[in-house]
Amino acid sequence: MKVSVLSLQELRRNIKQRQVADQVFMVFALFCLLTGLVVLIALVFQMFFGALGYSFTETAELERSVIGLVTQVDEQADSPAKSQLAELIQVVREVKSQRTGEALLEIKFTDQERQRFNEALLKVLPPVNDFAQKQSEAGFIDDDKERERVLQELDASSPAIKQIYDTTRQVCAGRIERFFTGAWLCIVPSKLTLRFLRLPPSANHEQAGVLVAIAGTSLVILVTSVLAIPIGIAAGVFLEEYAPKNWFTGLIEINITNLAGVPSIIYGLLALGVFKYQLAFGESILTAGCTLGCLILPVIIVTTREAIRAIPVGIREGAAALGASKWQVIWDHILPYSIGGILTGIIVGLSRAIGETAPLITIGALTFITFLPISDDAPFLSLKWIWSPFTVMPIQMFDWVQRPDRGFQTNASAAGVVLVVMTLLMNGAAIYIRAYSRSRIKW
């Protein structure tokens, strides 16, 4: 068959086409990179100013809610809150008088109106905020009678504020409640103090800290590492170096690869049945460590095998030709040269483990725990702590996020920052070891 030869013109056109394709791809790749960067920036912003961002998106909705609230108070002839809301009522009346044709809930403020509205709202906010805070705190009083008494006292102290607060809940299903509790003014960095790190959890968001969760996460990750890293590396080495290549090892290989992608909740169920009940480890750090260890084991095995496979066959044969035993080849060559890849797998695995919530909730990790999992009796190095109940950072965050008191949302965001920093520290250590081990090996 004759191969058609391009003329010079066709050749140039062909080159042009391919260059255009190159550029199109480059633009696409750049776009993808920028998208990733935007997401990253949004993530950091959300992390530090999460509550603030929340108020931005809900501004219009909040305005409509406040209009509804003010209107309702305005319509009640004997409302005690009327004097408190006088300025707001004035603003809303003016706005309404200008928009006779529009439905009440579709009013949109002009910038000037919004400014006046916000000024008026800010005057009402602090007392209502205070009221909401006190009510929230009273809710945590254990004794029923005492709680009732405190709540009644609170209601009686300022009927006007109580009415505004109650109307809020009726009219806008708690939307303004969140607003009133002052969350939109909170800024996460101010929460990130040493005090926050040193305090145990508390019913009061002001006094709640992440100490117990940090301890729990650190210890669970420690157990996970001790279990998963040696077993994972050894299993990877065995599969790659010792196991014969047949259909059975092929089957194992496929299964391990698939296990790396199994949803974590499945591991939670496994742990619930095996570790918690069958082996009777209870709701302990040991159970959590075993669970997360199982979770990241496939990741470590797969990356270990990939890293080992990347070593040229010449290195193996060269070492073997000098009379090295299989173990010497592995220990002196295979492991040192693949440690970079293996550590990458460990980083990926542990990063996944540190953020896991679902399997730990499944095995019954606590959401509220105020004591540290440390044994007091000397020697403090005893391993008693592995039997201790615990909580971890993601569960602590989850607990805080679902609380009505908006102050805890700030705590949750701050705890998120702490968790990310913990992950970075852990990964930083691994990356340092990797860089160090690679610097000693030059290909």
Partner: protein, 255 residues
């Protein structure tokens, strides 16, 4: 037979080799390797010359499923029945592509001793110096023994691999196309080195390059399709071979 059996370092007796898939790569080969001489295996690609060479230090045992028949006697002892590690400790090998370890020059050369459990600094220092001198590399690297071996040029890396194999003072040195990845100058250096080394060690070399065989080898074996076609002194193989096929191959008419 060109070599007297009593003076042979190694004797291959009716040797056959089967890969894991059942392919018979070497078919009933018998030859002798003369002591402190250079024996070259030549032949077209796929003729089994590398396979035969690798059988000498049991490289095939690294990969399961292969099978030997016949005997390879080194000093009267059948190495096919010995522990592969023992065989490899006595018979060194240099590969086609320079394969230094990604460690320092010093550690590369010392590794053969380290696997034997020799860790005493003074012994290692002496052995490294002796091996590097033996591989004609000492003058070039004596000031940078601690630098990575991968900083060396291709030819230096290959000489380093020879030094690595020499450090343990093997009885036989196997070279599998050691210069195929090197430039002519580096090739020349290696060839000169081999001629020096044959004073001390028995050398078996596989080569694609027939001129190389004429330059360095005392004996040459021509292999074709897994069979030993002809084995004789290099002079006879290249000037007056018995076999028609050998004649055609050494004259470059096929292969």
């Amino acid at each position: 037979m060109p070599i007297d059996k009593s003076s042979a370092k190694a004797i291959v007796k009716d040797f056959s080799f089967y890969y894991a898939n059942g392919f018979k790569a070497i078919k009933n080969v018998s030859l002798e390797i003369a002591e402190r001489q250079i024996t070259a295996f030549i032949g077209p690609s796929g003729c089994g010359k590398s396979t035969l060479l690798r059988a000498f230090n049991r490289m095939h045992d690294l990969y399961g499923g292969s099978r030997y028949e016949g005997e390879i006697l080194v000093d009267g002892q059948n190495i096919l029945t010995l522990d592969p590690m023992e065989v490899r400790m006595r018979i060194g090998m240099v590969f086609q592509k320079p394969n230094p370890f990604p460690k320092s020059i010093y550690e590369n050369v010392a590794y053969g001793l380290r696997v034997r459990g020799v860790n005493k600094r003074s012994i290692l220092d002496d052995a490294v110096e002796k091996a590097l001198k033996g591989a004609a590399l000492w003058d070039e690297v004596k000031d940078r023994l601690k630098t990575p071996a991968f900083n060396l040029s291709g030819g230096q890396q290959q000489r380093l691999c020879i030094a690595r194999a020499l450090a343990t003072e093997p009885e036989i040195l196997l070279l599998d196309e050691p210069t195929s990845a090197l430039d002519p100058i580096a090739t020349l250096n290696i060839e000169e080195l081999l001629l020096e080394l044959k004073e001390r060690v028995t050398i078996v070399i596989v080569t694609h390059n027939m001129q190389q065989a004429t330059r360095v080898a005392d004996y040459t074996a021509f292999m074709y399709l897994g069979e030993l076609v002809e084995f004789n002194t290099t002079t006879i193989i290249f000037n007056a071979p018995d076999n028609q096929r050998t004649q055609e191959y050494v004259q470059g008419r096929f292969g």
